[in-house]
Symmetry: C2
Subunit: 454 residues, 2 copies
């Protein structure tokens, strides 16, 4: 009744999608959904919602022209403003112009259309793992493309070992996997770390050596905060020194990029969802400065992911106020830093280890000790992780398990932190109580956890 590729798109294994579906996308709200789970699993950022809502509301206009067809891949005004913004904030080596920007209905759609534009059925995209779990659906859903994960040696650091990449490429060759691109998320997801300039150079040399495309997903580019002094309050201006310590380096900022790789092989994903916390507006971009043929393909496919003239104009208006935008980004970094400091202290105080974070909306925590305790010293299995995840959900808190990011070791969970403090505290309380009870083989009933939380 449906095509093979259609069937594959709904039956493909995507742990992140499976977990998210289990929540029915309905989350706790004190008045509207008091019994739904608290959402610590989806990456979002509520810290500046009031300011954003006010600014977006005042950017919301429609003109007569907007009733008729707009450019499918974004109006020239929108693309021009994105180009200026990215040039300024990413400190690109060459200025971006409107032509370098193709808009899609979200970064996920951008990843999908870029993948299809670069790889044919049966081909593969190498991805640095653990990786953002929605790539499973975005890249492999109905496309015939597979993902070929490459794990850096440890979760503890993300130093890019050239030999790890080379070994993976050799393994792919042996398995008859035809790799068309290397996909790197920077700052990464789920750990929230940035690659060094040297790391990026290694990726570029590797991609160049094998004549494959290099895709950088930079959707958390401007959500770095580890270089800030968190004792400062949110409205303190970031000093020049702090800015120079920003751990994020865009691939587009490398002055020597064309010495490392044919720059027509390099493409960047960006969007409004993460740095601007506008998940709902569905605006993503592919930034490409050197590949006209690819851009033609993307323009043709943008018709299937055609952004609404209303949203186009709203975001165009929004980005026109560069003073507001730059100030928002500074404030957002500061608030992320404060928020991260708080959750980090919470976990330290409760004896929960987490990996250090430089950027993004989440912290990757290590709950293996609780699983080991539960199972009398046995190393945690995937099934153990799944059981704890389900117990957490049953007890009113949704988190993203390591499985969703294809971690090799089981027992890690990604926790979203830039949230309203009442929600976050309630969520962390449920998380901790449930985990301790789980480790001690005590059955925590939902009602108990919910009661304890109040």
């Amino acid at each position: 009744m449906v095509s093979q590729r259609g069937l594959q798109s709904i039956t493909l294994e995507s742990p992140m999608r499976r977990c998210a579906s289990a929540t029915n996308w309905t989350f706790y709200d004190p008045s509207e959904n008091p019994t739904a789970p608290i959402n610590l699993g989806v990456a979002h950022n509520d810290l500046l919602q009031d300011k954003l809502l006010e600014k977006i509301s005042s950017s919301l206009t429609i003109t007569r022209k907007d009733l008729d067809y707009n450019c499918a891949y974004g109006s020239i005004i929108l693309r021009d403003r994105v180009a200026s913004f990215v040039t300024r904030q990413f400190k690109t080596a060459e200025p971006l112009v409107a032509d370098h920007v193709t808009a899609f209905t979200g970064a996920g759609a951008a990843v999908y259309y870029l993948s299809v534009a670069l790889a044919d059925p049966g081909e593969s995209i190498m991805v640095i793992a653990p990786y953002y779990g929605m790539f499973d659906g975005d890249i492999c859903g109905g496309t015939g493309i597979s993902l070929f994960p490459v794990y850096l040696p440890t979760l503890e650091d993300n130093f890019v070992h050239e030999n790890v990449l080379e070994e993976a490429f050799e393994r792919a060759k042996k398995e008859n996997v035809k790799v068309k691109a290397l996909l790197v998320t920077n700052p990464d997801n789920p750990i929230g770390r940035c690659y060094s300039r040297e790391g990026l150079e290694t990726f570029a040399r590797f991609a160049s050596k094998h004549s494959i495309h290099l895709i950088l997903d930079e959707v958390y580019a401007l959500s770095t905060f580890s270089h800030l002094d968190t004792s400062l309050s949110a409205d303190t201006v970031i000093s020049a020194k702090e800015e120079s310590d920003d751990p994020f380096t865009s691939i587009l900022s490398l002055e020597n990029l064309s010495d490392l790789i044919d720059p027509s092989l390099v493409h960047v994903i960006y969007g409004m969802s993460k740095d601007f916390a506008l998940n709902g507006l569905r605006i993503g971009f592919i930034l490409d400065q050197n590949n006209e043929t690819l851009r033609s393909v993307l323009h043709a496919s943008a018709v299937m992911s055609y952004i609404s003239s209303i949203t186009d104009r709203t975001i165009s208006n929004f980005l026109s106020d560069s003073v507001w935008i730059d100030s928002y980004i500074s404030t957002n970094r500061r608030l992320l830093a404060d928020s991260y400091a708080k959750i980090s202290i919470f976990f330290k105080d409760h004896g929960v280890r987490h990996l250090p974070v430089q950027a993004g909306h989440f912290v990757f925590i290590d709950l293996r000790p609780f699983l080991i305790q539960k199972n009398g010293g046995r190393p945690p299995t995937l099934k153990d992780e799944q059981e704890l995840w389900q117990t957490l959900l049953d007890n009113g808190v949704y988190v993203a398990p390591g499985e969703a990011f294809r971690t090799k070791e089981h027992g890690f969970f990604r926790i979203t932190f830039p949230l309203r403090s009442d929600l976050l505290e309630l969520g962390l309380d449920r998380l901790y109580k449930t985990t301790v009870g789980f480790g001690e083989n005590r059955v925590i009933k939902e009602s108990q956890a919910l009661k304890a939380s109040k």
Copy 2:
């Protein structure tokens, strides 16, 4: 540098896309673009723009919730309102509910995702021809699906001969073409005619016999007007009798559908672009009442064509006022009828034949006599049609040539009529003068035509 399917998507033969691209999507505007061609080629409807702009403006709101992820295939509120609206206006045999509606960023995207959900690479969709030319890109672009056109015997009527369908199916078999679906546009495009109930039943029986899907593109469903007395003014209420004479029948209104075909094979395309003249907002729907598996596939793919929360809320608000909506549709029909009457008189007065129209935004005119005159009696070729089309464009008027709809006979052109009268008159003047000059082998220079038009 790009995938094979990517390359195919930009090199595939799509005469409509080629023609539209030649305009660079820039059209005449007295103040902003006085030298660009007048757009009589793209289907649009300016007749109620003031009312629409006012209503959409007042529907434009955003709430805190809209900042975060919405449902990819449309909020429950949007889908619920679309379901009610379609049930009421299409007079569906069974009421639609929200679950039956999947939203995409436009009807074109809906056609694309439905095609991919039903057909695999190497398979084909049979389409009644002449057909809407953007199907070439929407269905065949990068998908590996081909279109298999079936021509009804004449352009003069659209009676559905069962044997024509059967012969086509046999021919497809012989050519090893695996047909997965029959695609019918009703009311049709480019001619603007509706299929009778008997015609729809023939399509359904045919699809059932061969176990293929039946897709009805009903985007002009509520733009029928041939049943109205055009001497009445626009604000006259349509009488009950007139309503019962409406030439449009939705496939969803057939009480006996399940006697004719397994209804899980029947799917409808709808959208806000045509009946509501909101091309720019990019909202299309797939209506399906009986195929849950297909809907799951569509839900998964909707993530790649994710509608913006702002647009979702705007259209939800817009559709909530059913009194306004129903009155808009009545008024729009009346204005379309008046506008069609005017252009029909113009062509009659100027000795240009056109095919009778029941619905839509365009009239299909027959300029073959001018081509025959030019070439001393020789029947027109595709090249003749292309030359006239180019001359028209050079002389400041963009129309859609028969080629864009894959007509077998050459010399037809589709002319959009529900436009501001100053634009339409100027466009028709340029069209007529250029065509006459072309027929008489007189070179009409752009400056002359433009001057003559003033």
